[in-house]
Amino acid sequence: MSDQHRLDAPDPDGKRGEKHTAGAFDIRNFIGALLGLYGLILLVMGIFGDQALQKTGGVNANLWAGIVLLLMSAFFFVWARIKPIVVPEHVEPVDDDPVRPAPKRRPTGS
């Protein structure tokens, strides 16, 4: 699965096509990474930090939130790995419309 990495974006699935397309990098890995980092920080705060029990009404809120965030993070990483986004070989270009005084699209982008 991870036989092919590109240098310009994290893409653990390696399923990104050769085509240079917008939206090719997988948002699920970003979500997983951010939630995971938050979860880790909260977990550490929950264990070692000030639990502020008088504020939360006796619940170690950081700890629980940290655990839930880590689970969510794992879910997104797993989802991205199991069902990677397949970038289509050919994305249909939006046609020029004669009604619209638009510029002609040049054949190969910029």
Partner: protein, 585 residues
């Protein structure tokens, strides 16, 4: 975050610790990182503006909600919850879900199928230049005004958290939003919106749960609200416990005395005219669906969004209600007092409910997540306004009326310049927003002016092939003017400039203004159509329901999908759920 530590920071509302700043900083690293990476993927202007129609439905669906889940939604709705109680849910269950489903089921095929890049462009195809120009300009102006509201709220939270002067906060906030849109365009905006959605949930869910835990669960909240309503002095005008704890008939929300007219006002004014106007024609939202990868995904975008939208009230209204009984200052305010302090420094307002609740019940750590979530939400709102503005500005105004026939690169560059310009203008419109005491009223008035007539023209134009080009622009203009007139005649639709001839105030005035716009638009459009020449049927294919072959309105791929991935069953489930919710509350 400490770069401006030299500035006065005396009146920071919330005391964040280093761990909170680390969490906030991490969020910004991700936001800008997405911008940088998206930039490498932008190949031409279509990619920049519509993300190359390449995104899956769940991404665009969450972006659809996130683009709307801005400052107004979070601060405004929790403020409404604190002040008025549970009837605020009408903004979601009546004022959003039905319209979102209608957009997905009925209107999206026309938008996506006609391959237009913007809502005004659809207007151009259907009605020609007049209606297009009116729509483009009013949309562009509205976006600048609304971006100002979001920026103002963003600036005021930075001000509240860090104690920076409001103008510094505004500039910094504007610079961050600007950098990530110009870096990556719509792809970056959409990807960030999805990320924001999860950060916002991670911020608000613990707040709601801990809040409910502190007041003894939902039953405890009900008891406390009841106790508060009966013990509050009559002069404070606190809605009765009955009104605060039940969604219908919602007199507290509409401001109408009669329960019957209150229901009519909410269903027709909010549920039909304002909400259908907002959700079905607002390009900020529709643009998200246009970026999806198939007709099926485009139609499912608002429907998937509706499931998320349905549960947002629990994350914003409940904390608002908890704040009203748990936070000392909000309680005093609700009982008719004027506690000092607050985000503005000019006394506590209902808008501060969420911030004060965060201060009171979140430990450091979660506090940082909550602050990051709020910052995320406010930037999402503003970024959505700006990215929709730059599409309309460069394609619908600049390209069509000012400089035709230039290269893609040229319009891409214009789009980036428009982004910069819009951000600078938003700093000024933010100062307009700051002069309104209740931003929710201001916004509802704006939606009434711009969206209600647009919806009337759209719906008539989509289903009545006889409707003419002249009727298009006449209806739009007259509708907007009549909404402005009603707002001007009401007690406070225009703030202090209103005359007070019609005894309506607050959000009720906005409902009536929107309804007036809708009715005037329909009547005039029909009248004008009957005396002018319609377009030939051959030009209406894909634009008018009766002239479009049925098979062009559905995605052939969809038949091969399992039922839970098809548009109509999903819409049915969503509608069923929202009806159940209405019965429960």
């Amino acid at each position: 975050m400490h770069a401006l530590a030299g500035l006065p920071t005396a009146d920071a509302l919330i005391s964040a610790k280093p761990v909170d700043y680390v969490i906030i900083a991490l969020y910004f690293v991700f936001v800008l990182g997405i911008g940088v990476m998206a930039r490498r993927a932008v190949s031409d202007s279509i990619d920049f503006f519509l993300s190359g129609r390449s995104l899956p439905a769940w991404v665009t669906g969450l972006a659809f909600i996130s683009a709307n889940l801005g400052a107004v939604e979070i601060m405004g709705m929790s403020a409404n919850g604190a002040e008025l109680g549970i009837s605020t849910v009408h903004y979601f269950w009546v004022g959003a879900i039905p319209a979102m489903l209608f957009l997905g089921v009925v209107m999206m095929p026309f938008y996506y199928g006609s391959k237009v890049r913007s809502v005004p462009e659809f207007m151009f195809r259907r009605f020609g230049t007049g209606a297009h120009l009116v729509n483009s300009i009013s949309f562009a102006v509205a976006q600048l005004l609304i971006a100002g509201v979001n920026l103002y709220l963003l600036g005021s939270i930075v001000h509240a958290l860090l104690g920076w002067p409001l103008w510094v906060a505004l500039l910094v906030a504007a610079a961050i939003v600007l950098s990530y849109i110009t870096l990556g365009g719509l792809s970056a905006a959409i990807y960030n919106e999805v990320l924001q959605f999860f950060v916002i949930v991670a911020a608000l869910l613990p707040l709601t749960l801990i809040g409910l835990h502190r007041v003894g669960g939902y039953q405890g909240l009900k008891d406390k609200v009841t106790e508060f309503a009966t013990s509050a002095p009559a002069s404070a005008g606190v809605p009765s416990a009955e009104q605060q704890l039940h969604s219908w008939p919602g007199q507290a929300l509409s401001g109408f005395d009669s329960p019957f007219w209150s229901v009519v006002g909410i269903v027709f004014g909010l549920g039909f005219v304002l909400s259908f106007g907002y959700w079905t024609t607002n390009f900020v939202e529709v643009q998200r669906a246009m970026a999806s990868n198939s007709m099926s995904a485009a139609r499912k975008t608002p429907i998937i969004g509706s499931f998320a939208k349905m549960f947002v009230p629990f994350l914003v209204i409940i904390p608002g209600m908890v704040a009203a009984v748990l936070v000392k200052e909000i309680g005093e305010l609700k009982a008719g007092g004027t506690p000092p302090g607050g985000a503005s420094g000019e006394g506590v307002k209902y808008n501060d409910s969420l911030l004060l609740l965060m201060r009171d019940i979140l430990p450091n750590g979660l506090l940082g997540v909550a602050i990051a979530g709020l910052l995320a939400a406010f930037m999402a709102g503003m970024a959505a306004n700006i990215s929709a503005f730059n599409t309309v500005f460069s394609y619908d105004l600049w390209q069509r009326y000012i400089r035709k026939d230039h290269s893609d690169d040229y319009y891409l560059r214009i789009g980036r310049l428009a982004t910069v310009g819009a951000t600078v203008i938003a700093i000024f419109t933010a100062t307009i927003a700051s002069s309104f005491s209740n931003v929710m009223d201001y916004l509802q008035s704006l939606f009434g002016f711009f969206n209600a007539p647009l919806f009337a023209t759209f719906i008539l134009g989509m289903f009545w092939k006889r409707m003419t080009a002249t009727a298009g622009w006449v209806g739009l203009t007259a509708g907007t003017l009549s909404a402005v007139l009603v707002a001007f005649l009401s007690e406070d639709g225009f703030g202090s400039a209103s005359l007070g001839v019609i005894p309506l105030s607050g959000q009720g005035a906005a409902f009536v203004a929107a309804s007036a716009a809708f009715v005037v638009d329909i009547v005039l459009s029909v009248g004008v159509s009957l005396v002018t020449e319609p377009k030939p049927s051959s030009e209406l294919r894909g634009l008018v329901y009766s002239e479009t072959p049925r098979e062009e309105l559905v995605d052939p791929q969809e038949r091969t999908m399992p039922w839970f991935r098809r548009t109509l069953p999903l819409a049915g489930i969503s509608l069923g759920l929202v009806i159940i919710l209405n019965f429960l509350f």
